[in-house]
């Protein structure tokens, strides 16, 4: 089971809470990024197995980053997240090459594991 995670979100509160939650449930948060550009850089350097990627970022759209990661040959499983519901995005999640979508309020190790198995 992949255990290393890169958290990409522009809200520091969420990053901190998500890091604490995932760490308490056995995941290793290898890095955080507050925008798209930092996320691509961190993914290239840290090689996380999982990228927890917020849809709405200040510079680059989350779906576009997912596509770019795939294009760059990243092997990380991209899990899109948002405080909105997945139905707000239609088929964008599948088309971006992401592994799946977890609403922020429902983030947990179980949800993550279920998606990655």
């Amino acid at each position: 089971m992949p255990r290393t995670v890169l958290i990409v979100d522009d809200h520091p509160t969420f990053r901190a809470t998500a890091r604490a939650l995932l760490a308490s449930e056995g995941y290793e948060v290898v890095g955080e990024a507050a925008d798209g550009r930092s996320a691509l850089e961190a993914a290239r350097e840290l090689h996380p197995e999982i990228v927890l990627l917020d849809v709405q970022l200040p510079d680059i759209d989350g779906f576009e980053i997912a596509s770019l990661l795939a294009a760059n040959g990243s092997s990380a499983a991209v899990v899109m997240t948002s405080s909105r519901d997945s139905s707000d995005f239609g088929s964008l999640v599948e088309e971006s090459g992401a592994r799946g979508f977890i609403p922020k309020a429902e983030l947990s190790a179980a949800a993550l594991s279920a998606l990655l198995e």
Partner: protein
């Protein structure tokens, strides 16, 4: 052969034969003392009557007077029979020698119609003939020498030579004859007396000669036994009067012919346009009938009226008055009511009627002409009035455009009179403004155009009028080709049209502004919703998501690490408080609750309290304003304060809100750097849209370096 010709061919030879016979008797008579004188007198008398009778019969074949005249003439020649030397002829001649007198009585009583009208007249005439024959015959019975001459033939009728009987019979016969003749004379005199002027003129000569002849003849008879000389004188007088009868008759004919000439003369002397009375007087004189009345036919009443306007009816009984209508082309025009005796002078009546017909027809034609002229005059006046009162301008010009005449309406508009100063001048020089002149002349010279031409008409001291002209071909009263320039003043119409166009343009601009404003308002609303969504998403929603995760984490640590769980819960509490504050701020941004609940004043006080720089509320409205107005006013102040905080670099702001003449007036003034541009950025433009949506106005005065003053006026 005409009846007249036949008459002459019959009567003339007979008269010549009878006259010749009489002449032969006289000239061969052995008992005639003065054969030449007797022959001449006898032929003169006899032929005079016959000739007069022939003339009368020829002129009036329906009148028997001619026959009676001829009868007298032939009867007269019978009186020559006693000149015969033969006993029987002599005796018969004696018996018929008074026949002429009876015929004369017949003539006189039947004159002038030749017909005996009353029974009394017929009795008198029959009695006369009987008396004439019987008187002499009865004398012949007892008198052997009725002619009282020694050489005369014997009396063939003598039955007894009885002098006493002869004298008695003769006396009796003479007495009866005298009485008879006097009776006739009196009857004729009475008729004369009763006759009208016209009748007297007609009867006059013949009747007078006849009466004289009869009276003298009667006196001759009466004096025969008293004084032979006196008797001879009376008899001679009787013969002279008797001879005068045919000449009197001929004189009457001649006078009638003269009277016909008089008719023409009298009618010519009548004034050119006689009054009805004058026409009547002329006709009276022409016909010699002072009782004549002239009646005019009134077609509209289908009746005759006299000169006084009283109705005149055609007469059924013409015993006392005769009615002669005057017609022209089978239409009645007038009538004469006159003495019936004039019927005996039909030529005269016809001449008068013919002359009157012409005169009346001439009058009628003149009256018609006058009426037609009057009508034409009225029509001309009417047309002139119409042309001069019409609101259009009319100007008749010749084919080169030179003015012939124009109507009063054009005079009133232009101040130019239709006189020698304007006539014959080119129309455009007088009635078209300088700048339009060349184009107008070109249009006119192009010919009768179907299209109109606008030309300004100088109308000092006012501004030139805008007139639309048309050019039509017409023919004037003398048949010359002309052009009619007809103009209509469209100054007011043009002005209204221009105003309307301007109004339309303004409306279109306003509409475009409204459309843009609506689009901006919609866009502003969209932006606001996006902002709200973003704020909610980035703010409260993120905090609540984190809160949710923290609570789940704390829950998981509650048993294993109560310390950590406690810290997580404390952090969650703080996060919740921040989320609530953010939500409250957001809600206030959507619509401040204090504005709804307590009105504009408290809302502005709250706004001022939260502003990042000092805000002085200098004036606030008393009481509540209409809700849309309060909302707009609040956002004007709110946006203005936000702008001041962002851009103005101001140290203080003053706010004034009040009512003024039906408007809510909102003023926000700062002491900042100024230079705010309402056309740039969406803030001030959005405020203006919001104010204008309520039909208000927003003014921004922001000179660089001198602060900014925003003033909104919103109708209440």
């Amino acid at each position: 052969m005409t009846p007249a010709r036949r008459l002459w061919l019959t009567v003339v030879p007979a008269a010549l034969a009878v006259g010749g016979g009489a002449l032969a008797l006289v000239l061969t008579s052995e008992h005639e003392d003065a054969p030449v004188l007797t022959s001449v007198l006898g032929l003169l008398v006899g032929w005079s009557f016959i000739a007069a009778g022939l003339l009368a019969r020829t002129r009036r074949p329906d009148n028997r007077t001619g026959l009676l005249l001829m009868l007298v003439g032939f009867a007269w020649f019978a009186a020559a029979l006693p000149e015969s030397n033969d006993t029987v002829v002599f005796t018969v001649g004696i018996a018929l020698s008074a026949l002429w007198a009876a015929a004369l009585v017949h003539l006189l009583l039947a004159y002038p119609s030749g017909t005996l009208i009353s029974t009394r007249e017929r009795v008198l005439v029959v009695f006369g003939y009987a008396l004439a024959v019987s008187a002499e015959t009865s004398v012949l019975l007892f008198n052997p020498d009725p002619a009282e001459c020694g050489d005369c033939p014997d009396n063939a009728f003598l039955i007894a030579d009885n002098e006493t009987a002869a004298a008695t019979v003769l006396g009796a016969v003479q007495a009866v004859a005298f009485v008879y003749l006097v009776t006739i004379a009196v009857a004729l005199a009475l008729r004369w007396r009763a006759a009208t002027t016209v009748a007297r003129r007609l009867l006059g000569p013949v009747l007078l000669a006849g009466i004289a002849s009869l009276l003298l003849f009667g006196l001759g008879l009466a004096f025969d036994s008293i004084s032979e000389v006196a008797s001879e004188v009376f008899m001679l007088g009787a013969q002279v009067a008797f001879i005068a009868v045919p000449f009197a008759f001929l004189w009457g004919l001649l006078r009638r012919r003269l009277a016909r000439a008089d008719v023409s003369r009298l009618l010519m002397e009548t004034p050119e346009q006689p009054s009805p009375e004058e026409a009547q007087e002329s006709l009276r004189r022409a016909l010699g009938d002072p009782s004549l009345e002239l009646a005019y036919w009134l077609p509209e009443r289908q009746a005759y009226v006299d000169t006084r306007g009283q109705p005149v009816e055609p007469l059924a009984d013409e015993t006392h008055r005769a009615f002669t209508p005057i017609a022209y082309e089978d239409r009645p025009v007038a009538a004469l009511v006159h003495d019936p005796t004039l019927r005996e002078e039909p030529e005269l009546i016809e001449a008068v009627v013919a002359a009157a017909r012409i005169a009346i027809e001439k009058d009628r034609l003149q009256a018609e002409l006058r009426a037609r002229l009057d009508e034409l005059q009225r029509e001309r006046d009417f047309v002139r009035d119409v042309v001069n009162s019409a609101p259009s301008y009319f100007c008749v010009v010749d084919l080169t455009g030179r003015i012939v005449r124009f109507n009063d309406t054009l005079t009133r508009a232009s101040g130019r009179l239709d006189n020698e100063r304007t006539r014959a001048r080119p129309f455009w020089e007088v009635f078209v403004a300088d700048e339009d002149r060349d184009a107008f002349r070109e249009w006119f010279e192009h010919g009768v155009a179907a299209d109109e031409r606008e030309g300004r008409l100088p109308a000092p001291p006012r501004e030139p009028l805008t007139v639309v002209w048309t050019n039509s071909a017409i023919t004037d009263e003398q048949g010359r080709d002309r052009r009619l320039l007809c103009g209509l003043d469209v100054t007011e119409r043009t002005r209204q049209q221009r105003e309307l166009e301007q109004l339309y343009r303004q409306l279109a601009e306003r509409l475009e502004e409204l459309r843009a404003s609506r689009a901006r308002i919609v866009e502003a609303g969209d932006q606001e919703r996006r902002r709200l969504e973003r704020n909610l998403h980035d703010g409260a929603q993120q905090r609540l998501v984190s809160l949710s995760l923290s609570l789940r984490l704390a829950q998981s640590k509650l048993a294993s690490d109560p310390q950590a769980a406690d810290e997580l819960l404390a952090g969650a509490g703080a996060e919740l408080a921040l989320a609530l504050e953010e939500l409250r701020e957001l809600a206030r941004g959507i619509h401040p609750a204090v504005l709804t609940e307590r009105g504009l004043g408290p809302a502005l006080e709250s706004l001022a309290a939260r502003a990042p720089l000092p805000v002085e509320l200098e004036a606030l409205p008393d009481g509540r304003l209409p809700t849309p107005v309060e909302a707009a006013a609040f956002y004007v102040v709110s946006e203005a304060l936000a702008n001041v905080a962002k851009y103005a670099d101001a140290s203080s702001v003053s706010v004034r809100v009040g009512r003024d003449d039906g408007y809510a007036v909102v003023e926000v003034e700062d002491d900042g750097i100024g230079g705010a541009d309402p056309g740039r950025g969406s803030g001030l433009r959005g405020l203006a849209d919001r104010v204008e949506a309520l039909d208000g106005r927003l003014a921004v005065d922001s000179p660089t370096g001198a602060g900014t003053r925003i003033k909104a006026e919103i109708p209440l």
